[in-house]
């Protein structure tokens, strides 16, 4: 599964420009799907028919990653930019970013700031793509770039940019690969634009009308120095979300995940996330409402180029989803 994860995290795919990552995922899932389509906003929806008698279940992971978008190119060829999704200014300084065609940029900060000890604002950052003027600048207003860091594995830790949420895409793909039988009608949504507006999950769910929805996304941990208190730790198992800033998980979905984990002796942890939300928040409110929950992969350093997960949590996440799908 490591090679799959490497392929997924290293592919370009910021919110709104998901074509490349969608093509990579599509190649992985097409041979396994009963039906596959790309819906109006660009989400990839895979349908796996069950043997019958079960529910219509939608699983979801988002394809898009955070990034930056060029907002202006000045006379000297430096680009000003805005963030795509939850990017912080500190993450940007000295970072390297890559555009769809491979053009690279370096992010610098204005030295002449009023207070050099304060965190700079986005207006005080700029991107250097090696141009000398507006005319020879290879990037233009509207071009989107992602952070550049290669995938690395060290012990059981997996480190890369875009673990959020490519690791969950890997979990869904691996679950689909290993799924032998299921009574349920299963839909796997690889959604677009989660990092900006959750628009992909919301509209895809409208099209499916599931009885139950489970999003798979990363969650934070409370196991690094001087961090905010949080119960989740790397390596202690996938996390069952109780609530986050955008939703309260449906108790039946939460309990389903817990019961299946207990019955199959799969390590798990309970999760309350005090900031951030996932596609599940949007899925829950579609049409007349959908019982929704979230299975989380614990991750350190979320929304930085070096997001870190533990491969044991990933493997146990796949096992848990299979336990949910393979029984009634």
């Amino acid at each position: 599964m490591k090679e799959l994860v490497r392929k997924l995290v290293e592919t370009y795919g910021p919110s709104g420009v998901e074509e490349q990552i969608r093509a990579v995922i599509r190649a992985e899932v097409e041979p396994l799907a009963d039906e596959l389509r790309v819906d109006p906003l660009g989400s990839l929806v895979v349908h796996k028919r069950g043997s019958g008698g079960g529910k219509r279940i939608a699983l979801d992971a988002h394809m898009d990653e955070i990034g930056v978008m060029v907002t202006y190119v000045d006379e000297k060829g430096f680009a000003r930019f805005m963030r795509i999704g939850g990017v912080g200014p500190l993450t940007c300084i000295g970072a390297r970013v890559a555009f769809a065609d491979g053009t690279m940029g370096v992010i610098g900060v204005e030295r002449k700031r009023d207070d050099p000890n304060k965190v700079p604002t986005f207006e005080q950052l700029y991107m250097d793509v090696g141009a000398t003027s507006r005319d020879d600048c290879p990037v233009h207003v509207g071009d989107a770039a992602v952070f550049v860091r290669p995938f690395q594995a060290q012990g059981t830790r997996l480190i890369a940019k875009a673990m959020d949420d490519r690791i969950s895409c890997a979990v869904l793909i691996e679950t689909l690969r290993r799924l032998e039988q299921t009574p349920h009608d299963v839909y796997l949504i690889f959604s677009v634009q989660e990092e900006t507006t959750l628009s992909g999950a919301r509209t895809s769910t409208y099209g499916i009308e599931p009885d139950l929805a489970i999003a798979v996304d990363v969650t934070g941990t409370g196991d690094t120095p001087e961090c905010r208190p949080m119960a989740v730790e790397l390596g202690k198992g996938p996390a069952v979300k109780v609530q986050d800033r955008g939703m309260i998980a449906h108790p039946a979905v939460r309990d389903l995940l817990v019961q299946r984990a207990k019955a199959a002796n799969i390590p798990y942890q309970m999760e309350v996330l005090e900031f951030g939300t996932t596609d599940a928040a949007a899925m829950q409110l579609v049409r007349a409402g959908v019982p929704a929950g979230c299975l989380s992969i614990p991750c350190r350093y979320i929304h930085t180029p070096s997001e870190m997960v533990d491969e044991r949590d990933v493997e146990n996440g796949v096992r848990l989803l299979l336990e949910v799908l393979q029984a009634a």
């Binding site: 919110s15 709104g16 420009v17 074509e19 819906d39 109006p40 906003l41 989400s43 978008m69 060029v70 907002t71 202006y72 000045d74 006379e75 000003r80 805005m82 795509i84 207006e123 233009h140 207003v141 509207g142 634009q193 900006t196 507006t197 628009s199 992909g200 919301r202 509209t203 895809s204 409208y206 099209g207």
Partner: protein
């Protein structure tokens, strides 16, 4: 000129009647069906030739920002609240039209002779301002302008060479572009021209119209920010007058569908129509709710650059206006099922 009629009509969010009447008069003879829905949106259908089996929604919002009467004080002055986003700094000294009778109202300013030191640097909040309609008592004020009465700016439309100025170019400019599109030849697809309500207070009209129409794709026509006046730093003007229609890639409300953006830019390049990209991340439009409708609607926004929007004196270039009409007409003519695949 339809832009003049539209700009001078009154239609603050929630009471778009004045603008709606002008829109209905302008499109009625050029469409196959027209109706006004529960919220006041005008839904006009211009059937296609049948070549492209698509429903295409093109929207522009009829509502403008304004004020609403929230109280009357003992001396006969009106208290008001903003409807839509208004910078309180531009209200003192402004001339309003109050209510359906268009009663003149003034938001006065203390004469400079009477100002204390530094008082001229204070900015009054809207709730501290009063509108003077010439009433001399609370009862008279209540009779002239009861609670809930709307007030709009009073800027006449003027031509200033290649530019024109007036109030509410956001979004009467978009409405005027849409009227021109409706007045032209049929497209291959069914054109659902929607003149929406209550965009300025939450993109509300567009949300219900898109649900009813279920379009395959949508274009939103706007009048957008042009901040191209002199600055000391080399930063983005958002859009510039004279540089052509402004295409949105991403704003605070949505990410434009890249296939539709490519259709627009390919068309512009093929025909030599000037265009620009609006500075990403600024503002929001009806596309923000339209694209979330049902299973999703690929959407794009094209705007006429306008200086000083959300002020009484908006300004645009007629070249930009005409190029926006041209870009939309030509792009829509090239829109097929394949564009969205």
């Amino acid at each position: 000129m339809i832009l003049k009629e539209l700009a001078e009509a009154i239609g603050v969010s929630g009471d778009e009647g004045g603008a709606r009447a002008v829109v209905l008069g302008a499109v009625r003879e050029h469409v196959d069906e027209v109706k006004v829905d529960a919220l006041g949106n005008v839904l006009a259908l211009k059937r296609g030739t049948g070549e492209q089996p698509l429903r295409v929604m093109v929207a522009a919002h009829m509502d403008e920002i304004g004020l609403m009467v929230t109280g009357h004080d003992g001396d006969g002055f009106l208290r008001v609240a903003a409807v839509g986003g208004i910078d309180a700094r531009l209200l003192p000294g402004s001339f309003l039209q109050v209510g359906p009778e268009r009663i003149p109202g003034v938001i006065g300013l203390k004469p400079v002779h009477l100002l204390r030191e530094k008082e001229d640097q204070e900015v009054s909040k809207i709730e501290d301002l009063v509108v003077d309609v010439g009433a001399s008592s609370k009862d008279e004020a209540k009779k002239l302008a009861p609670l809930g009465t709307y007030a709009a700016f009073t800027t006449p439309f003027r031509e200033l060479g290649p530019t024109v100025s007036g109030k509410a170019f956001d979004d009467r400019a978009g409405c005027a572009v849409l009227v021109e599109l409706v007045r032209g030849e049929r497209f291959g697809f069914d054109l659902h021209a929607v003149f929406t309500v209550q965009e300025e207070v939450g993109l509300r009209g567009a949300q219900v119209a898109a649900y009813a129409i279920e379009p395959h794709c949508a274009f939103v026509l706007e009048g957008t920010i042009a901040d191209d006046t002199p600055k000391d730093k080399d930063v983005s003007p958002t859009t510039e007058l004279g540089k052509g229609p402004a295409i949105t890639v991403m704003d605070r409300s949505f990410i434009a569908d890249r296939r539709l953006v490519r259709l627009l830019t390919d068309t512009a390049q093929a025909l030599g129509i000037p265009y620009q990209f609006k500075q990403p991340g600024i503002g929001g439009t009806d596309a923000g709710t339209i694209h979330l409708t049902r299973e999703g609607v690929p959407s794009a926004t094209v705007a006429v650059p306008c200086r000083y929007i959300h002020s009484p004196v908006t300004m645009l270039s007629l070249d930009d206006f005409n190029n926006t009409v041209r870009l939309m007409r030509e792009s829509l003519s090239r829109l097929t099922r394949e564009t969205l695949s």
